[in-house]
Amino acid sequence: MKHFLLASFAIAGLAATAAAQAGRAPPADTIRMRQANYKQMAGAMKGINDQLRSESLSLPDVRRHSALIARHAVQVLNWFPHGTGPEAGVRTRAKAEIWSDPSGFRTAGARLLVTARTMDAAARRGDLPAIRAAMPRLQSACGGCHEAYRGPDR
């Protein structure tokens, strides 16, 4: 019974995620999902920065973080179906500009993808100077998009 319950929860969860990714989920679910994903990316960014600061850098850790960022970066543009903006009635900092300036938003998304893949490739090679060089570009891809398409907190 316990296993059946767990399994059905897992299936429901997977279905919700898949539906959210496809943009058919209720806006609130999509918003929650993308916020959780961005939070994971934030953790991964700090994770890489932490490693770059630590005395004994762990490449496997850097790779785990860079892989997560690259994996999410592919998806980012799918996280903003119509109806998940300020009009959704749920707390979201997504600005209306995401939908009124789709080409600008796509460019920002592409920039994230390129910089995230550069970082991930450097991490896989274990090329420390390249990881260090990729960091400011990735930071500015994230920060630049937030500035244009994310509203203030509260």
Binding site: M41, M45, K46, N49, R53, S54, P136, H146, D153
Partner: protein, 221 residues
């Protein structure tokens, strides 16, 4: 005054160069740090923050081994001395008066807290971190970043009080405190002796220790 002094009023040293340099560097750094935070120039903000860390650390060391008027033991007074100063029966002396001492302690404490919070802070996106933030989680360093923002407002209030006090002395008491903080000296009152200046080697110890600790932190302690 019945008899004019036969010579020009004597000028005496009251603030040494390190104390003045510290003061004016902080005056430059605080708005620069506010501006870089506001404009999200975080790399620069963090670099300036490490500079501030070194300066505050130096001032604390200088408060232990510096010139007479820079030393905490020389100017931090208890409540009795503060009350007696407020009643006006405290002896005039060079250096911080008991109330000014409170202001120095408050501002140095707030600066220390502010720098301390910044060392461990991170933005919510994990993009930029203080040099010691790898010792704490993203959640913790986000919370510290929020405190860092709030603490700046507290710092501003105390800076406002500090400036208001200086204006009060200038306008009401006709005593210009800014001039001596620039030149280091002022006209001597009756029977006033200059500060006892600390020798260079003491400065080298304080500055060297502050610099060493700052570099240790900046390079990832």
């Amino acid at each position: 005054m019945s008899a004019a002094p036969p010579f020009q009023a004597r000028r005496i040293a009251i603030w040494d160069l390190p104390t003045r340099a510290f003061h004016w560097l902080v005056v430059l750094l605080v708005p620069a740090m506010w501006w870089t935070a506001e404009e999200e120039m975080m790399d620069l903000h963090i670099l300036l923050g490490q500079t501030m860390f070194g300066l505050v650390l130096f001032r604390i060391f200088w408060g232990l081994i510096g010139s007479s008027t820079a030393r905490f033991a020389g100017f931090v007074r208890g409540p009795r001395a503060i009350l007696s100063y407020l009643r006006g029966d405290g002896k005039a002396r060079i250096g911080h008066n008991p109330i000014g001492a409170l202001s120095v302690v408050a501002l140095l404490t707030l600066l220390s807290i502010q720098v301390g919070l910044g060392l461990f802070a991170s933005d919510e996106d994990g993009l930029y971190q203080g040099p010691l933030s790898h010792h704490v989680s993203l959640e913790a360093s986000e919370t510290l970043a929020e405190r860092h923002e709030t603490m700046f407002d507290v710092l501003l209030i105390f800076i406002g009080l500090h400036v208001a006090a200086i204006l009060f002395y200038l306008v009401i008491k006709r005593d210009n405190l800014v001039g001596p903080m620039v030149s280091g000296s002022r006209e001597a009152g009756e029977g006033e002796a200059p500060m006892a200046a600390a020798p260079l080697w003491r400065f080298l110890i304080a500055a060297g220790a502050a610099l060493a600790l700052t570099l240790a932190i900046a390079t990832g302690l």
